[in-house]
Every structure is written in C-alpha cells, then in structure tokens.
Symmetry: D2
Subunit: 416 residues, 4 copies
C-alpha cells in the first residue's frame, strides 16, 4: 500500500486486533507476527483472526528452543535476579521475540514494526531498544504512545466500540482484573486490582502453579546435573531429561505440581515508576537455586565474589532494562562463560508445598572441596598453627584502629 508495510506483534487479543485495524485504516499494509515462547495460546485461531481483519500475512514463530538456550540458560549460569526477588521471566523473552520480529520485517520488506505495549511499562523500552540495535534504520509505531491513538481509545469500552464498528470478532470471555504475560519461564500478573500493593493476589489468579496448600503431601526428589554452569540432565521420576527444552519443561512440571516459584513484589521500572507484580517462575527458580548450590562446591571463592558483585548485578539490570542487544551484554557474557568453567556436578533437590530445597550435591571432576582438609578432626596437609600468623597479620590494621579509639577515649568495649 501507499504508506508501506508494517510488521505488527499480534496476540489475537482486543488491543492488538484494534491496532491491526487501525494501522490498516491509516493506510499501512500489515504483516502480523506471533512469537511462540511457550505461552498457552490458540495460535491458529489468532492467525485466522489476523488474516480476517486484514493482515497480508501472519507469521507464527516457534522461539522456545532459542529462548531456553540463549536467554534462560545464561540467566541460570549467572544466577540473574533483579532487586533480590524477580527472576526476569518477561525480560528474558523480549530479545528473542524482538529478533524474530525484525527478521520477519526484513524478510517482508517492512519499513516499520509495531506493538501494543502501553506507554508506562518496561516492555515498550525493551522491544524498541532491541529493534533499534537489531536494525538501526527501523521505524517503530507505538500507538499507545501516540496521543491521537490514546486520546481516541481511552478505555476498554472505546476499543469494544471500535471492534464492533469494524466487525472485529471479540471473544466473549470476561476480561480478568489484571494483565498477564506468559512464557516458558514464567507468568506475570500486574495492573488492575493488583495495583493496590496490599491487595493479596487472589488464589485463582495463579495460573501455572498449584496452590501450595493443595500440593501433594509427599515431597518429590530429583537431581539436576550441570556442565560449565548449564543444566545438562534432570533425573526425576519421569525419567532422565537432557534436551534443553525437554529438561526445562520437566523442571516446570515438577515445580508446578508442588507450587514452587511464586513471588509478589513492588519493583522499580526502568522509567522510574514503581510497579507491583506477581510472578510464577516454576522451573527457572529451581534450576537457578540448584546452580547456586553447585557453585558453592565447585567455584573458586574470589571468582564467585567478583561474579556476584559485578556480573550478576549488571547482567540482571541490563536484561531488565531491555539492553540485551548491547556492547555491555556481549562483554558480560564473556565473563559469565569464563566464570563457569568449573561448575560441573550434580545437585539433589526436593520440592514440597511451595518450598524448594537442596539435600545434597557432588562433583566428579572438581576438587576444590576436600573433605579431609576441611575436617575439624584431621590435621591433613595444613598446619593449624599457620592460622596464628594469618590472624596476626590481619590484626595489624585492626590493632591500630583499636589504639586510635583508645587514644580518643572511644572505647570499643563499651556497649552502644
């Protein structure tokens, strides 16, 4: 058409259906794009709907494998976490979705991409920063940031009226009083009734995991094997899983049936607003915790400290803020790989009524842990008297501190 082709991230829902129609109204040709990152969705029905509304094409791209291997696995390898609690489930999916959308846009010769993200959230930033890095010349059409659009569609009713007018089919299911985002790694819930941070998430909100009080009365044990910090085998009652997607999905299955992986937080968005979110991250939270445990056994203390303080922290922030396709992420990923050379071994795990715990671990190849040496009962290759010198030298600085306090009459011995 006259104004060129646009590749629209389409979900089949009311918002992106109206945006599709709107773009057509505006004179664009629209290529619909759907990413399968493991969310529960009737992709074929959505495709049919997109075509019915007027999309020239509708692509459904299965990104599950690359999502696990390129995003979730490095996140496990560096124990990525944002603000001590959030495992970045949504953030992790954005890069593969943006990349596939740009690939479709390039294949179809689109001059622009479009999405249905709101103007206050993180996702618009994540998608668009990825778009611009992936194809610096791309244009972005973000209707929810366009005053013409958002002043016209001020609420759900305006969209429903427009859908009715344009004969866009609307599913009769009542909208839930919150918004959701689902993928293989997690499901998020925010907005609506959750905006009051003191409103407890209703039990029927949680979609992926069973209510812990209704989980089995028997704990379930399983073993996760890692090589160079990445999961390579999950041994459980359902057998051994080694393929990344299979392994990850099985970890999800175990965690979901035991109610593992729910969190409820108020977090700080990139744009400076605070936001309340509830997240279910079943398998990923177990894999990450098991990985942390194995690092205790197999990783050098100082590499771990440097990695914790700088790589983990920075990697999580970068992902959260949508800077995956960036020089700094490339730089950090080199460090993640370098840090994981020795993280080889297995962790025995337990899931039970919402709780994940580690009950043992071993490594056949890494020997940093030495039972006899650490033993309090044996002397081994180590002279306890050496520690006297170690303490004396470490005390040199502290004695000066103590003396200075004494001279100033500020005894450290007096209680506060």
């Amino acid at each position: 058409m006259a104004k060129g082709k646009v590749c629209l991230a389409y979900s089949g829902g009311l918002d992106t259906s109206c945006i599709l129609q709107y773009l057509l109204d505006e004179g664009y040709e629209v290529i619909a794009f759907m990413a399968d990152v493991g969310q529960e969705e009737d992709f074929e029905a959505a495709k049919e709907k997109a075509l019915k509304i007027g999309a020239s094409q509708c692509y459904i791209e299965d990104l599950r494998q690359e999502f696990i291997e390129e995003l979730c696995y490095p996140a496990i390898a560096c124990n990525a976490i944002y603000e001590s609690v959030y495992l970045l489930g949504t953030s992790l999916a954005r890069p593969v979705i943006a990349r596939a959308q740009i690939a479709v846009a390039q294949k179809e010769g689109c001059f622009a991409v479009s999405h249905g993200c709101t103007g206050k959230g993180n996702d618009q930033v994540r998608f668009e920063l990825a778009f611009y890095a992936l194809q610096p010349s791309i244009k972005v059409i973000a209707p929810w940031r366009d005053p013409v659009f958002y002043n016209r569609f001020k609420g759900r009713n305006d969209l429903l009226d427009y859908a009715s007018e344009k004969k866009i089919p609307v599913t009769s299911t009542k909208s839930k009083p919150w918004s959701m985002d689902e993928n293989l790694a997690h499901c998020s819930y925010e907005a609506g009734i959750l905006e009051d941070p003191n409103t407890t998430a209703p039990e029927d909100m949680w979609k992926l995991t069973v209510d812990p009080t209704k989980a089995p009365n028997e704990p379930e044990d399983f073993t996760i094997h890692f090589e160079k910090g990445l999961p390579v085998k999950l041994e459980c009652k359902d057998g051994d899983k080694t393929e990344p997607l299979d392994l990850f999905l099985t970890a999800n299955t175990i965690a979901r049936r035991h109610g593992v992986g729910r969190v409820d937080i108020v977090e700080n968005r990139f744009i400076g607003l605070k936001s309340r979110g509830c997240y279910e991250t079943p398998g990923l939270s177990m894999l990450r915790s098991a990985h942390i445990d194995l690092e205790g056994l197999t990783m050098d203390r100082e590499i771990r400290a440097l990695r914790d303080q700088f790589v983990t922290f920075a990697y999580a922030k970068i992902l959260y803020n949508g800077l995956y396709f960036s020089p700094e992420r490339e730089f950090l990923e080199t460090s993640i790989t370098a840090s994981q050379k020795s993280v080889n071994g297995a962790v025995r795990c337990r899931a039970y009524k919402g709780m994940f715990s580690v009950i043992g671990r071993w490594s056949d190849t890494e020997k940093l842990y030495d039972e006899s040496e650490s033993s309090m009962d044996e002397i081994g290759d180590f002279a306890p008297s050496d520690t006297t010198g170690f303490i004396s030298v470490n005390a040199i600085r502290l004695k000066k501190y103590g003396k200075a306090k004494e001279e100033k009459g500020e005894s450290l011995v007096t209680k506060h």
Copy 2:
C-alpha cells in the same frame, strides 16, 4: 598465680573443660566466661562445673538484647547474606561475645583470653580479630592451634582419658556426629557426617524448626512493621510484640512451628577452605525477607542499587570474616542508616510448611509508589509520548552498536 590470669570462653563441654584444666596445669589462673546469646544450655550447671574444675570465677553474661539490637537488626536493615544463601547467624553473635569476654578480662585484670575454637574454622579468626581490635595489647591462648596441645589431644578419646585422669565430670550423653552452634538467630551444623556434601542432613539433626512435612496444615498469617528499616512491631495471633527481644523470639516461634529457615550449603571460609554447613535461621530469615519486600515499596531505586551492590555485599563479607570491629564496618554502618530513612511501613506475611511468603504491604508515610501513576489505565501526571524521547536517546548508543555490527557483517539478527 605466677603466670597470670586468663579469661577462658567456657561452654561446659568436654573440650573447654579440658582446656580449663590444661590452663591450670600450665600455671595460669582461669576466669571462666559464658555468653548467653540465647542458646539452650544449663548455664548454672556449667558454672558449677567450671568452678569445680578450678576456675576462680565464672561469669555468665546475658547478651541477648545487644545481640538482637546491635547485630541482628543492622543485618536485617541491609539484608545481609553471604554467598547468596547464608544469613550469618554464627558470625553475628561473635562480636557481642568477644566484647563481653574482653570486658570481663579487663575487669578481672587478665593478661590473656583463651577459647576452644579449632584451627581450621572461621570462629578463631572472628574472635581473635575482635579481641585485638577491642584491646590491642591482649594476648590470646588458642590451644587447638598450639602443636603441644593438639599433638597431645589427637581425638575425643585423648580428651576423655585426660578428663578421667583429672576427674573432670563428663556427661554421659553420646556425642552427636556433627558439631553445632546455637544462638537466638540460628543453629548451625557442620563437620562429622556432614563433611560429605552429598550426605543429606538427617531429619533428627534439625533442632530449632519442625520438619516442614509435619508442620501445621494451615498457613499462619502475621504482619511486621518497620521504622527506618528496623522491625518495630510484629502482629500475630499471639498478640502484638514491640520489644526487640520479644519481637524476635516471637518471629522465631512462628518460623519454628512452620519449619521456615533451613538451608544446606557449601561455603567458602575466610581461610580459603570450603566447608559444608546446615543452618536453621527461623525468625531472622522471615524478618529479612519482609524487609526486602518493604524496600520495594518505600526505597528509591538508585539508593537501593548502590546499597545492594556495595553495602550489602561488603557488610556480609566483613561480618563473615570477623571484621566487625573495624574502620570499614563503622563506615558501612553509616551508609546502612542513611539508606533506611524511608523504609517505613508494614508487610503482611504467611508461613506454611517451610515456605515464607509476602501477601501484601503498605506504607502510611512513604509515597514513592503511586497507584494511579503506575496504572496502565490512567494517564495521570505523565505523558506516555515522553517515553518515545526516552527510548530514542537511550537508543543512540545502541544504534551505533548495531551499525558497527552491520558494517562488520556480524548481523545481530542471525541466531547464535
């Protein structure tokens, strides 16, 4: 006596009873010192035993209040954690014990202090670095690092023989196949059968908390209030608790009956060995998690990031390594206080079968979270179109990155 007075940290057990006798044999006068940091112990029986063996005096010091207020509370305020898992229960008690022991030594005119710590652990370092800062001129007698002593007493049987010879009363209770350290904040288990990191901790080892599978079938809800980052009220079915010791003990009670706070890790000791430890930290783990949650609602993003990356990390390392009485701890504590000015509010919590979760939170005074502003449904005081500029400017650097990649023929769009 000729060789002067020594203040010995005494526990009533076989080791320190033999050390007491040994010091007397060596010609020292011994002042026994016992610290009550909340461990379950028959202090009076131990005192009687110390005096019977030959101590000139035996001090029992109740340090519970200062342990909670001066150590546990700042640890909560900065979310202290070592190597992502360990809440520092043992490390936190050492400074108050060392300080009280030095105070007794000073009162009694002792030229030296002594302890029964082994020569491979962290505790010897923690105690002695504290001793030297508190009183730079103090001498330390550490028998388990003295070759004369440790070559003579090579195992428990040598100690039992010595006790028998010296008529030191020995309790008939069979020694447990691990060693323990208990205080108000936690109980630790290490050594013995736990030295194999793949041996699952036996169920009867855990002392403080109930087995989660035997915990009540009903969740228990309660509310923790904070002011300037410190717990000030615990509302629960047992009433409202506001005194620090009372509040902390009640948090323990709730956590213990629901099996909350068990961890099992391999950690890196200060002296460079790895060590396996199991820890129960019932109340402290809940108070810390609730505190983290409230920071989400009430703390500025950038202060939080700086605090997380530098204060929390450094504070935990300093405490773990026994550097509480140090210039750097004093320095960091100023930052902790400064970071907590706005951490005022309450967190609604739930304990259930080993799991702690947050189900809501509010603050009457802090307004960083603004429901209507964060709302996806309202425009409020914020123009969504502004975000376009925000993204454009953040994209400047990324577009250059993308262009450089294109020029080098390394398309970011191609999958790995």
Copy 3:
C-alpha cells in the same frame, strides 16, 4: 503579561539575547537571571542589555562561595573524576546555578524557567533535572529543543538577522571557533574546530593557564592543610589562605601561572554521544591530587578501597549526569563525610611547567603510618615470622588452583 512570567538564564550573549526577545514576542514576561560562579564577565553591561531588550528584572546572584563550599569541596573530598580524566568543572557549577534560578523564579512568581542550552549536550539535562527536583511543578522552556525555534534559527546568521531586526545590540567581537564555559573551577572548550578529535587545541585557546613552556623556570612550593578531607589552609609565598573562596582562588593563581591543569579528552555524554572537550582546571586539580596524597597517609586501607570503588565512581557519574538533587547524591554524601574523619594533615606540593607534584606530607593527629613499624630495619611490635602463617593460609586456595592445573596438564610454569 497574558502568558505569565518566565525566568530566563541570561548570559548577555547573542543566543540568550535572542531567546529573551523571542520569549517576549511569544507573550511572556521575562525575568533575566545571571549567576556569578566566578566567570570573567561584565555582569552590569549584560544586565543593562537584558533590561534594554525588555526584561522586567535582571538578577545577578553571586554564587561563588556556595559553589566552592557545597560543590567543589565535596568533590575534592571524594576525589571525583569522570572517565579517569575529567574533573567535572562544568557539572559542579550547574546545581548552584539551577537552585538560584529556581529561587528567583519562586520569588518572582514565574511559572516557567528557560535556558539557552543546545539539544545535544549535557547541560540541558543537568539544569532541567535539577529544576524538576527543586520544584516538581515548574515548567521548562527550552527553545533549542523546540522545532519551531530551531527550524527558524538554523545558524548564527539567522540569529544575527533577528537581532538586527529587533535592534538587539550585538558586540562586534568575532565569535571564537569553539564554545566555552567558565567558572571558578575551570574553563571548558568544545565544538567548532575541536570537533575533530585529532585537531590539537590552538595555544591561544587556553584562557586560564599559561602555556607550560612559558611558565616560570623556577618551581613554586606550597603547602595545603586539610581537616576531615577539606582544605583549611594554603601556605604559599602570597601568605596563608584559610577562607574557602580565598584559598581556592589562590590555588587557582598558583596553578594558572605554572600552566597546571589542562586536559584534552573524548568523553561519553549522558545522552550516549561521544564528545571532545578541552578543560583547564587549575586549582581544583592540585587540591584534588594533594587530597589523594594525604589519604595515603591518614585513611584506612579498606575504607579507601570501598570509597574508591563505589562512592567516588558513583558520585562522579551522578554529578556528570546532572543528578545532584537526588536521593542517591544525598545518600553518597553521607558516605563521603564518614570516610573523611581521619583525613587530617598537610601536603607539601610543587608546581612547575604544567606539572604538579607532591614532595612530602605529615599529620599531627593520625597515626596509621608508623615509621618504625614499617621500617625494614626494625623488628618493632611485629614478628616477621607471623607472615609465614599469613602466606600459608592465603596459599591454601592457590595450591588447590595449582594442583587442579597440574592434574589437567595445564602447567602454569610454561610461558604463554
């Protein structure tokens, strides 16, 4: 007037004179505001010009004292530096200017403030972030970011035509082929011919400092005294200076006559562009270097390391990005103060042909340095044999590393 009052940051130059006129044309009443931060300028002539063009009022605020005490001194106390080279001279002045401008705006009942900063630089960001923190309800008029304005005035000639049309007096001095910003702390040069990063700055560009090759052939020595990390006395051939402004100006005088403090860099702006700048920072660069030296003598190693890695780094970035009025700056300033308690003493300095050097230092009160103890020739209060234990314990981890390498056949002894 109908559209209300605007407080314009006015310099007397062509740009802000045209903006003043433009705002009047647009129907605003304009209050002109000039900040005296020590730049060489005929304030009275500029005031007269502003009033002549049509400003209702023209304020000239002397901010030199607060600029030194509130901004430059804390920067010295934390050794602030951006990207290893830039001493933040421009950034440091912005907060006091923004604050005084808002104070005038409030006094005059202005609904908006305005400035003549370009749309690609750091200064617009620094001023406006400060304005919004100082008075969240303020409006900002930034003509150089307004397409109407910048499309009309595409270059200097358009402005000259407008000035001629509006009868705005224009000084006949030929414009320099770069832009400058001067204050007590520094003078910056950028843009124009300097945009080619390989063009050497012409000798006649440097305004504050003498060409080092033309500086005196004799070095000049002087002594700077610090208390709690702040300069309190400068002893030099011109006498003793103790008042902050006097002391700072004298440091400038010394550095200027010896050509000290020139740098030439390419730096990274907040908005993601790289920019070439030349800076003269005479006194500040000497005061900062002397302060660093004194910290060596008087500051604890670990406080220094924490401060260097976190506080200095973060403080410089915050200032550079214009986040002075922010929670994080308040937070960091607490740490700066806490870190400087012991930084008391004096540094003997030398300036000579562009070079600053330290030739001695002492402290009457701080005793962390102990000549006899550090002496290689004396034993003192320290047993060299203790170091054997210190090394042994530090070697535990490294021996494991060496053994693991040996087992893998990767000898460390072989050269790369």
Copy 4:
C-alpha cells in the same frame, strides 16, 4: 648434599650473598638464580661471585620480553593503577621472576626455593604465593622471617662481619640510604631516609629520569598506535618501533629524557602496614595515559564503566597482593581482552619537563565518535526534541523526591 638442593634468587648484593653462604653452611646445595627484567646490573660479575661463594650453578634468565608482553601490556590494556597513583612496577615483575625461578628449580630438582625478601614487605608475599600456585609442593626458605637468622643478623654490620669471616667479596660502594628495585617498567625507592613521609626525595635519588627542571626546553611529540588495546607502533624522532621490547624501551627513553613518570606516595601494603614509596615509571605511565585517551574515542561507555569499576580495580589489587597466578586473575584477563576489541587507533602525545599530554587522537576503524552527530551546530540523524522526553522520564523519580522533600518542609531550594 644431604639436605637437598635449594634454588636461591640471587642479586649479587650483600644480603643474598650472605644467604647463599648461610644455606651452604646449613648443608644445602644451592642453585643461584638471577632474573634479567631489565635492571641495570653486571650479571656476569654477580654470577662469578655466586659461583665463588659456592653455588653449584648460576642461571641468568632474560625475562624482559615476557615481562613486557605478559605483564606490562595487560596492565596497560586495563589501565592498572593501585590506590589512584601507583602503576605497580614492582608487582608486575614478580610473576615472571617467580615462574622462571620455579622452572629452574624444577629443572635442577630443587626441593625448595629461597629469597632475600624482608618479613614486612609485599615482595615475600608476591613471590611465595606465586611459588605455591606454580608448584604446590615446593618448600620456601625465607631467612629474613626465620628467627634464627634474623636474630643473628640484626643489621648491616652483622652481615659485613659474616661476609668478612666467610671471605665473601663485598663491593666497597657505600650503601645508599634507601632501598631500590629496578626493572624495565620502573625503579622504586623506599625505606631508609624515605621512611619519614615528609622527607622530600633527594634529587640524586632518582635514577631513571632526568630532573624535570633540567629536561629539554623543547617539548617532544610522538604517536602511539594501539590494536585491541595493546601498543603496536611508536612513531617518534628515533623512527618507528613495533616490537614490544623495542617499543617499550623507546617509550622509556623519551620519558626519561623529559623527566616523566615520577610519583611519591604513602601506600597500603597487603599485610596492613602503610609504607612510603617513590617510583619512576617512565614509559609505562605514558603508554597507560595514551591508552586511556584512546578508550575515550573508541570504547563503548557502558563497557568502559563496568571495566573501570570492576576489572581495573580488581586487577590492580590482585597484582599488588601477589595473586597473579590465581583463578581470579585468569577470570579477569578474559574480561580485559573482551573489553579491548574496539580499542584501535592512535594517540598523538607530548612530553615536556615532567608533563605528559595528549594533543590529538584518531581511529580509522572505530566509528563510535561521530563528528557531525556530536556537533552542536548540526541536527543530523538526531532530533533534539527527543531529549525532552528523555529528561521527562528521568525526572519522574526526581519529582517524587522533590515532592517528598516539600511535604516534609525540607526545601531543596534553601542553601545548606
């Protein structure tokens, strides 16, 4: 001999000559080892002396090339600096010396290595930690930490008496009132009269560089080219130098004749003592400064910030403390390499009377700097109006801060 072979780091001076004799007296066979790291020394005379005293062999190993390539170059690539001032000249040489000494020890079948380092310094720690990592089973004989030895030889006179008794030739040159350590990268001066931190280093102490006041009256210009952060060509009046050793020596020559690279500091040793040191680091200081400059032009802002805050800081500390052969150094070196991919280009430099300055730089391949885009005079591919949105979004958090201040009556507008 009965007690086995020892490889002694031998210098030809009084100390190690006496130690050589002492080891022979003690019944060891001694292999003398001398490392040529570029210090000015008569190696052949020293070898002759070692053999005369009784060494079975004397190895002279030329380590200059590996010293430059393996140590100095990575230090330049990460801008290594300790405590803001010290360029680590001594620390950098230790790893190659220790490695060559262990190689000789292994070749000769020595069970132990020995050195003449004092018991209070950093070098003993650096050498021994390296020895233990390189060969975990090695034994170390450190006479200056052995009470038998240091109680016997309490001062220089005791050594002279011993030398006389044992007929060890002693050079008649009067000992200097300080100790020195020289290599290709630097010369250090400490102890003796320098122990008073307020004693100005005497002019005749400085060995490598000319007194700046006696340096040429004409500045000297030259150009340094880098590839991936490493110097690859030095263009100067003496021609083009590209071989690392040649390039480095030429940089030294230039810096030495212009008096560049002197510093005088009080630093914090690993063992907790403070120490005063004077250092000359001619070529390395210029190469490092030029490298920093080129990073401004060619390196991404965020990689640079991460590298500055973590890699540079940690790398310098690790080197200073003697942890070169460690897991963490290996880990960090991966990051250094990853950070330098784009650091390609050239820097035009000037040396003059102690001062080094940059007068221009360019890169043929890296395009992060874009003259027209950064230009204040051109609009280019960038809309200034975008910055409005950037500022608005960054201001969201700050407006909340300002509002909270207002509500508490703590106006930010009021001066301190």
